[in-house]
């Protein structure tokens, strides 16, 4: 049960703190998890000074608004950004692994997929991530407004090109289809008219939002049957006024946190309505889910396929380790199909069974053994022409070499009698029941020289299973 809560609202239990957690009565699990995420996050800043110099300039602000980079500067920016983005990726993984604010980072990962943006500009990406982490547990309206005014989203959805004379509908369409209402709750005409309302929404080179009034269409627009000289803020308000938005978010959260196959409509209505009535307090809906009985119902346990990031961070929380080559984690994300900051498109990662094909599954199964046996990660992801600009070539294979700190695991299991060991380890690692655990098979493939060998190799083997892929 505790296991279920920690995997769904976080990245799984940390071996070291498991004993302390499990000594607590169930009614304090959720408040503890929640309270550990209440403090404001520390923002990440990995953007190189050269990048900031290019984008933020040193002159007065007025000049910056229209400043543009020349070709060489753009090239330098792209190169440095790519490197910095990798650092941002790795830094965020560290935070997910080590922070007590598990709820915040898990929800930030959810919003990172919901407000998916591919943008090679490191400054804009870290600004967007800051908005998301800041509001991950805050107010959905504020989050929506912050994201909509971020340079990363404005440029990803082409709103700089959305001008009075030539409206570009991309932003208006995605904000309705993917961020708020979902398909079927608006008309093509609503999109056309909303696009006019968003004309003039732009950003400066340094990422600050700017409203360019000369690009803005000040005429009347008719959206959802209402007519007025609406601007972008008013359209966002109109989207939030619709209950469909609350239901849409409730359904998506339910799929992420509870169950992606069986989604009772009345439950979504109940969650969505309460979310709506709270004025879109994200904590309200999380709390409603976490405190419900159905959250812990057997049909909702062990039924989600872990995303590659959740799987990997979870492994690191179970087995604290020092990675010799942290960048190998980038290769791993690529080969498993989820690279932070590179969602497949604006709809985000599809999730569920989409994570799984023959090669991704075999790699997932082999990860624990690759680390334990210090083997080469002999798998490479596909080239990305948006990033590499034609300069591709096959990279080198990396190793997931890591120094595993086995002490927490040994503390936990060294007193367990041998005949109960596998059951205990399985119970700790798996979200599904260990009733069908094929003990003799695992037994035949573990080491028995010492108790430590036995414990360690059992942990590795039980992680290298289909059961460990779900939570």
């Amino acid at each position: 049960m505790l296991h279920h809560l920690l995997w769904r609202f976080g990245f799984g239990p940390r071996t070291k703190s498991w004993t302390a957690w499990s000594a607590l009565p169930q009614e304090v699990w959720w408040p503890k998890l929640r309270d550990e995420s209440l403090a404001a996050p520390q923002h990440f800043d990995v953007a190189d000074n050269a990048v900031k110099g290019l984008l933020m300039g040193v002159g007065e602000l007025g000049k910056m608004e229209r400043r543009e980079l020349d070709k060489e500067q753009r090239k330098a920016l792209r190169k440095q950004s790519k490197e910095d983005l990798q650092n941002l990726n790795l830094l965020w993984l560290e935070e997910m692994t080590h922070t007590k604010a598990q709820l915040r980072e898990k929800m930030a990962l959810f919003w990172h997929g919901h407000f998916a943006s591919r943008n090679i500009n490191i400054l804009y990406q870290q600004q967007l991530l800051a908005v998301i982490r800041e509001q991950a547990l805050g107010n959905f309206g504020d989050l929506l407004r912050g994201v909509s005014k971020s340079a990363a989203m404005i440029s990803f959805l082409n709103n700089q090109q959305n001008k009075k004379q030539h409206p570009n509908e991309n932003f208006a369409r995605e904000v309705m289809e993917l961020f708020t209402l979902g398909r079927g709750n608006y008309t093509e005409n609503d999109i056309k008219e909303a696009a006019r309302a968003f004309t003039g929404w732009n950003h400066r080179l340094d990422g600050e939002f700017v409203f360019r009034k000369w690009d803005h269409d000040t005429g009347n627009k008719t959206i959802f049957g209402k007519t007025g000289a609406f601007g972008g803020d008013e359209v966002l308000d109109m989207l939030l006024e619709k209950r469909e938005t609350a239901w849409f978010i409730a359904r998506k959260l339910y799929r992420f946190l509870v169950n992606e196959q069986h989604i009772p409509e009345d439950r979504i209505r109940w969650l969505g309505d309460r979310f709506y009535d709270s004025g879109y307090k994200i904590m309200r809906i999380l709390e409603d889910i976490a405190r419900s009985d159905w959250f812990y119902a057997p049909e909702n346990r062990g039924c989600l396929i872990k995303s590659p990031v959740a799987l990997w961070v979870g492994i690191r929380r179970t087995l604290p380790m020092e990675l010799a080559d942290p960048e190998s984690q980038l290769m791993l994300q690529k080969a498993l199909g989820q690279i932070l900051f590179y969602p497949p498109n604006v709809a985000g990662w599809a999730g569920g069974k989409n994570w799984i094909d023959s090669s991704s599954l075999m790699l997932r199964l082999r990860i624990p053994q690759l680390i334990y046996l210090n083997q080469e990660l002999d798998v490479q992801g596909k080239a990305d022409d948006d990033q590499q600009m034609g300069q591709t070539g096959r990279g080198i294979n990396r190793r997931l070499t890591a120094d595993i700190d086995w002490k927490p695991a040994m503390d936990m299991f060294s007193q367990v009698p041998e005949q109960d060991l596998m059951e205990k380890i399985g119970g700790f690692l798996w979200s599904v029941r260990t009733k069908n655990l094929p003990k003799s098979v695992v037994e035949a493939h573990t080491q028995h020289q010492t108790k430590a060998d036995r414990i360690q190799s059992t942990i590795i083997q039980l992680m290298a299973t289909p059961e460990y892929q779900v939570c």
């Binding site: 989600l304 075999m362 199964l365 990305d384 022409d385 600009m389 300069q391 591709t392 083997q461």
Partner: protein, 396 residues
């Protein structure tokens, strides 16, 4: 049960537990393959410059817009009076001469996207430009026609492309059959699956994982055996694509139950110094393709094989200032095989007068090409797979 008993149970036995029809389906060649035909897709990643591939040698606008990059008529290998092919593609020119090649010009889609990733996503999923589909066009073919038939679609790469991902059935990706076999060879995995639940229920994610695992192990065994059965004796160039087509050839010669093979070559993203880079890649394509076609012909398989090339977009008509070209839109596709019903230029060369923002306008929707491949080559239900009805073309 003793350990040695487990070790005796190979992965194929494992598969038998999970998929009762599996072994049987593999033992009767042709029984599950629709019609023995193979579709080989070669993805030219990065946006190949189609105008310097099939060159409009009579078009003044082409030479005017490309004073430095344009390939002169006397350098191009002549195909027709108005079209030539890149000088590095002499092997393709020979296939043209013997009636094994067709070219479809100006293939694209409405509201083209010029980002590599997004446009590739559209080509892979077969979606309209304003929709986000989570499965690929070949993946949906697998769902519709190849359920329970592992190894129906293979990709020569470490990771699987969206194009080959169906909702429930997916292609299998590997670089090298032997390595695939070795990576799945762990006795632990085989034993573990064999001891797994016996009543697979696709609904439950864990069972779905067991099923995928069992299929992977069995397919790896099967493909490894197939690759040793009748390995091709022909010489292939020692390049990436050369190796990939050699692997494909060996599997085809062994009558493997695979309908779709997928390989990639790149990067064709030639913003700078296009000449050298495109030439180098074309040499790789040419060498590999010439060897493959010769091999298939020598073994009487060329009639059953259709090779199709595509790229996520073509490039701007005008050259840029760095000796390259920028992202464009519509592009040509090459079709190669002994079973073509139409050969040569299937439609007019691109119109370089009526452009959209400097790019070629699309005339043929790429999904119409997919519909043709699905319906007329693989005998599949194209409308169901593409979710729209497209009039098939007549080249196969």
């Amino acid at each position: 049960m003793l350990r040695r008993d487990f070790l005796k149970s190979g992965s194929l036995a494992t598969a038998a537990l999970w998929m009762p029809g599996f072994l049987k389906s593999l033992e009767t060649p042709g029984a599950v393959s629709v019609n023995g035909r193979k579709l080989v897709i070669i993805q030219l990643s990065g946006g190949n410059d189609g105008l310097n591939t099939i060159i409009p040698v009579r078009n003044d606008i082409y030479y005017k817009e490309r004073p430095r990059l344009g390939i002169k008529r006397e350098q191009a290998l002549s195909l027709t009076d108005e079209a030539g092919i890149h000088p590095a593609l002499s092997g393709l020119k020979s296939l043209w001469d013997d009636g094994s090649m067709a070219i479809l010009n100006s293939v694209g889609y409405p509201n083209p996207d010029r980002s590599h990733f997004r446009s590739m996503d559209i080509w892979h999923s077969g979606s309209p430009a304003d929709a986000y589909w989570q499965t690929g066009w070949l993946g949906r073919y697998l769902d519709a026609h190849c359920a329970g038939r592992p190894a129906a679609a293979l990709e020569l790469d470490d990771t699987l492309s969206l194009a080959l991902k169906g909702e429930n059935t997916k292609g299998l990706a590997f670089q090298d059959v032997k390595r695939l076999y070795e990576s799945t060879r762990s006795a632990y995995f085989a034993d573990y699956v064999a001891a797994g639940p016996k009543s697979p229920n696709d609904e439950k994610p864990v069972d779905y994982l067991y099923k995928t695992m069992a299929e992977t192990l069995s397919s790896a065994d099967y493909l490894f055996e197939q690759s040793k059965k009748q390995p091709t004796q022909a010489a292939y160039p020692p390049t990436g694509l050369g190796r990939d087509l050699k692997t494909i050839a060996s599997l085809i010669l062994a009558d493997t139950n695979t309908s779709v093979y997928y390989a990639s070559l790149g990067s064709f993203d030639t913003h700078i110094n296009q000449d050298g880079q495109q030439k180098r890649l074309f040499e790789e394509l040419n060498g590999a393709m010439a060897a493959f076609a010769a091999d298939m012909k020598a073994n009487g398989k060329w009639q059953e094989v259709l090779v199709v090339t595509f790229s996520e977009f073509g490039r701007r008509v005008a050259q840029n200032a760095s000796g390259g070209t920028d992202h464009g839109t519509a592009n040509n596709m090459m079709l190669l095989g002994g079973g073509l019903k139409q050969e040569g230029l299937l439609n007019p060369m691109p119109d370089l007068v009526d452009l959209e923002e400097g790019d070629v306008k699309f005339v043929v929707d790429f999904r119409q090409v997919y519909a043709t491949l699905l319906q007329r080559w693989l005998e599949a239900d194209a409308q169901k797979i593409l979710n729209t009805s497209f009039q098939p073309l007549l080249f196969v």
